[in-house]
């Protein structure tokens, strides 16, 4: 296999890992519709800000008053944990303050993909 062909294949594989623009647009729209009432990206509302939630430990924003259950949960928010959380928060952490659940798997994955690619501002966790 030529080096050029290998490079093209690597490029295709890498691109497949990154959500398409259309998927991210849908993820942003779903985030606003499903999550935006209670969460800001950079400010707390009823829930904590979510810009840097992906990849970080649960209950790690020191300025937000999390439930005791979530403080003790010791989770890291990745695709799997966020998917379980959005599906049924109480099944993952019995004592929590999340007043929401999302039954549609395609919507959960679009929102998680959107959260994952958000640029974290300097100085944030």
């Amino acid at each position: 296999m030529s080096k050029l062909r290998i490079a093209v294949l690597i490029g295709i594989w890498a691109a497949s890992l990154w959500p398409a623009e259309g998927d991210l647009t849908r993820g942003r729209e779903l985030y606003e519709k499903r999550c935006g009432g209670c969460h800001g990206l950079d400010n707390a509302k009823v829930g904590p800000p979510l810009r840097s939630v992906f990849g970080h430990r649960s209950a790690s924003d020191p300025s937000f008053p999390y439930s005791d259950g979530l403080k003790k949960a010791g989770l890291v928010w990745d695709e799997a944990t966020l998917d379980r959380w959005l599906t049924d928060p109480e099944a993952l952490v019995s004592e929590n303050d999340m007043g929401f659940r999302l039954s549609r798997a395609d919507e959960r994955s679009a929102i998680i993909a959107y959260l994952k690619q958000l640029p974290v501002k300097q100085g944030q966790r």
Partner: protein
């Protein structure tokens, strides 16, 4: 309350007679117009006896919520119902300004429906809150409580000369509430046939005035709705969502938010988050309640009385006008 500057409205309507922030807790106040300036009077306890008609607003019952801020929201809704059933003069109807349920589960809608069956007045008009529509774009809510409404639950009706409009500003959330162009166009057509002297009551879940945008307490496109209402002499806008009594008068419009029947939330900007506020158990029924609305002959504004589920009404804070 902090960040008072942030409370300034951006709805673009007449600033004459603007009272920046009127907050009352558990009391009644009547607004009348004098040379374009709203004048307030404390309500006598028997105001409802002089009223042409009366209706009651309940809000944010959050059936299904079971956290420490109130582990028995069905019980406190029942207490609200008993308060309404105990009124000397029964309301002509009841409005529920949204967040009927906490998670929009069928079982929660069932419980709400069953509980409200004990109201003596059975005519109830609903608008949804964001908790009623999350996850399914209001499908279940509309099936259960949206019968006879248009679009995603908007509606209007006339009662004894007053025109009532229920809006849904929770389906297109973009940080703030949003009414959306389709509903705004429906509203324009709904209002166009009315004379400017018709008293108007708008009810919606999220405030149509900018209470505290950092917490999403406002409606992005409310200015467009308020522009359609500018020509009317008397407009009253009732909402829930923020679980506390807050009132503002701006020109011809009185904005009023009601207490929840489930749990209180902090004053705008006064806490790290807008989440449910736990108060000592013996105080809970003092910060939950209902709003009684009286239409009085000769008055240009409706008289609003906020009554906690328990305890004597007390006057709250009134900020000076400008």
């Amino acid at each position: 309350m902090k960040n008072r500057k942030d409370l300034a409205s951006d709805d673009g309507i007449d600033r004459r007679g603007f009272l920046k922030c009127m907050q009352w807790a558990g009391t009644g106040v009547i607004w009348s117009m004098s040379a374009g300036v709203p004048v307030s009077q404390m309500l006598a306890a028997d105001t409802h006896k002089k009223a042409d008609f009366t209706f009651v607003q309940i809000s944010d019952s959050h059936i299904g919520f079971n956290k420490p801020a109130n582990p028995d929201v069905t019980g406190t809704l029942q207490a609200a119902i008993e308060k309404i059933n105990g009124l000397d003069k029964q309301p002509d109807f009841v409005i529920h300004t949204g967040d009927l349920t906490h998670l929009a589960k069928a079982s929660e809608f069932d419980t709400l429906d069953q509980t409200l069956k004990s109201l003596r007045q059975r005519q109830i008009f609903y608008v949804p809150g964001e908790h009623d529509v999350t996850g399914d774009d209001a499908q279940l809510y509309l099936e259960r409580f949206g019968k006879g409404t248009t679009g995603l639950g908007w509606q209007s009706f006339n009662h004894k000369g007053t025109h009532f409009v229920g809006l849904n500003n929770v389906v297109q959330l973009e940080g703030l509430g949003k009414i959306g162009q389709e509903q705004l166009e429906w509203l324009r057509k709904d209002l166009v046939r009315l004379s400017a002297s018709t008293p108007i009551v708008i009810f919606a879940h999220i405030p149509l005035w900018t209470v505290y945008p950092q917490w999403g307490w406002g409606t992005e496109d409310s200015a467009q709705a308020l522009a359609l209402l500018k020509r009317f002499g008397s407009v009253t806008v009732l909402n829930g969502h923020i679980h506390q009594v807050l009132q503002k008068v701006e020109g011809n419009v009185t904005f009023h938010s009601a207490m929840s029947t489930a749990f209180p939330q902090p004053a705008p900007g006064s806490a790290p988050s807008a989440g449910p506020m736990k108060v000592p158990a013996e105080r809970l029924k003092q910060v939950l309640g209902v709003t009684q609305v009286n239409s009085l002959a000769g008055a240009r504004q409706l008289a609003l009385v906020d009554s906690p589920l328990e305890g004597a009404p007390t006057a709250g804070e009134m900020m000076e006008g400008r």
